[in-house]
């Protein structure tokens, strides 16, 4: 591989970092879903994706393959993106559909009635709930009162990766995300949370985070089990 191709492969990997599992709200690279990534001398990027199980939900799988296709295609030095999801019951439909830019409904003829944007939005909303817990928990631990929390604007919250992530998810949904907007809003309507609704709001934020993170933990364990190196198998009896 020539240096140009090596450099392009690094750029492709960076691009893949921006692709998220919509359900887990994490990058497919950090989740270990990218099995390999190469770019040929003539600029063809070949990316192989792997998921925790053969029956992982096909709609989320489709979104990840399609998003990877878009992200990789936009990388400079890439002439063509070839994204292949492996070992999945719907690999053929998903890979073929994405490569043909067919959309979900056409790729799963007769099995879907809509594209996946509303599904995606549902899960970005969950990410806003979970992100609210990630940002608020340290504030509460630092002694902020409920009254203070409902009065805080995003610009007044100490900078953190979790805060950036929360803001970007709010932007994706068209929710208020400016410095002067409240930290605590209803992720559906965008209206500010009142002090009397705060305890339940934080409870909902926390259970959503627990749910997503527990799910993510199971996915990581299953992925590890599925693709662990040959010879490392568990004991037998």
């Amino acid at each position: 591989m020539r240096p140009a191709a090596t450099a392009a492969a690094s750029r492709v990997l960076v691009a893949l970092e921006s692709v998220r599992d919509p359900e887990l709200d994490e990058s497919i690279t950090s989740l270990g879903f990218v099995a390999s990534c190469t770019v040929s001398d003539d600029g063809v990027a070949q990316v192989r994706l792997q998921l925790p199980t053969y029956f992982c939900a096909p709609n989320f799988a489709f979104l990840m393959v399609a998003d990877a296709y878009d992200a990789v295609s936009a990388v400079s030095g890439v002439s063509r993106a070839d994204i292949v999801l492996e070992d999945h019951f719907a690999s053929t439909e998903i890979n073929g559909g994405v490569a043909a830019r067919a959309g979900f409904v056409q790729s799963f003829d007769g099995e879907a009635v809509d594209e996946l944007e509303s599904l995606r939005a549902t899960f970005v909303r969950k990410a806003v709930w979970a992100g609210t817990d990630r940002v608020c928990r340290p504030l509460i631990a630092a002694g902020r009162s409920g009254e203070e929390l409902v009065g805080l604007t995003l610009g007044e919250v100490p900078a953190s990766g979790d805060l950036d992530r929360l803001r970007s998810r709010r932007v994706e949904l068209g929710l208020p995300a400016g410095d002067g907007d409240p930290l605590l809003i209803d992720p559906s309507s965008g209206t500010a949370i009142r002090a009397e609704d705060l305890p339940l709001h934080l409870r909902k934020a926390r259970v959503t985070r627990v749910s997503v993170e527990a799910n993510s933990g199971i996915c990581r364990s299953l992925l590890q089990e599925r693709y662990r190196p040959v010879g490392a198998q568990g004991d037998k009896r």
Partner: protein, 349 residues
Amino acid sequence: MYEKDGEKYFVVDSHMHHWDASPENWVAGAENYAKGWIECFHAYQSLAPAETHWTIEHFQKASEEDLMKNVFEDGYVDVAIFQSTYLKEWYTTGFNTTERNAALAEKHPGKFIVNGRWDPREGDAGIAQLESDVERYGLKGVKMYTAEWREGSRGWTLKDPEAYRFLEKSQELGIKNVHVHKGPTIWPLDKDAFDVSDIDHAATDFPELNFIVEHVGLPRIEDFCFMATQEPNVYAGLSVVIGGLMHARPKFFAKVMGELLFWVGEDKMTFGSDYSIWEPKWQIEGLVDWDYPGDEFSDYPRVNVATKKKILGLNAAKLYDIEVPAECQLPAEDADEPAAQDDAVLVGP
């Protein structure tokens, strides 16, 4: 029965199976699905302690002797509830049918409760089958697998009018408990396959039925919790929660248990081993020994011996009218203690 530190725990395994997923039972042309399905289950077993892992060959088809030893002899279970799952599009004689389960139950009187199943897509024939199954097996419960494939359809929801017809029929025939399993690939594929909102509708419209949501709606615990607080007849089936998290992800296990105890409450949580994905022995021993690992969980409801007795058997015994020996029952004051939200502290200020 399990005994620890002088306490006696009556154990009802409210979610277990005896399947045949061996290659001889794979439907020609659907081998990839049949193989993929059981391999997926087998991967879940890897979340258990290593000394309880099985080979894939053993896992595909446990023998009757295995089951009796793992569940009753070694596994402390007093009564086990068979959940029937057909999957006949992939497994020629079915994955684990009511008929197969009932044959085993008949050989071992008093050990098993056999639950049936129905599928609204089977229409009139399905209704007739349900009537005959209830008469033949005396069903008190059914297991719904809404993501089952059938003739090109990849699933259904409890909101479907046809499903309501079956729910009405179930109620009329004296069925009390509806176990619902959510899984991937429900139709239509653009919707969230794990969405539990259909259970909400059914639970409201059929107040005489109990809905036990297996795997607590995992991976949608939050949706399940919001629903369960509003529906008195919705229960949390802990299969997969204990088996999949307690050993492999103890911190998340503590958080998930804490959330369930807060939102759903200890009176509405039921133990299920999900055998033969996981053996019950380590799950029961682990749960009885379990407490929150550290201070960061201090605002979740506390767990005590009574909590664990309810979860391991007393709650399911109530649902299925199983007689519990006096030595395993709770003292009157524990049994009446209110659970869940009242004694939990809200997070934050």
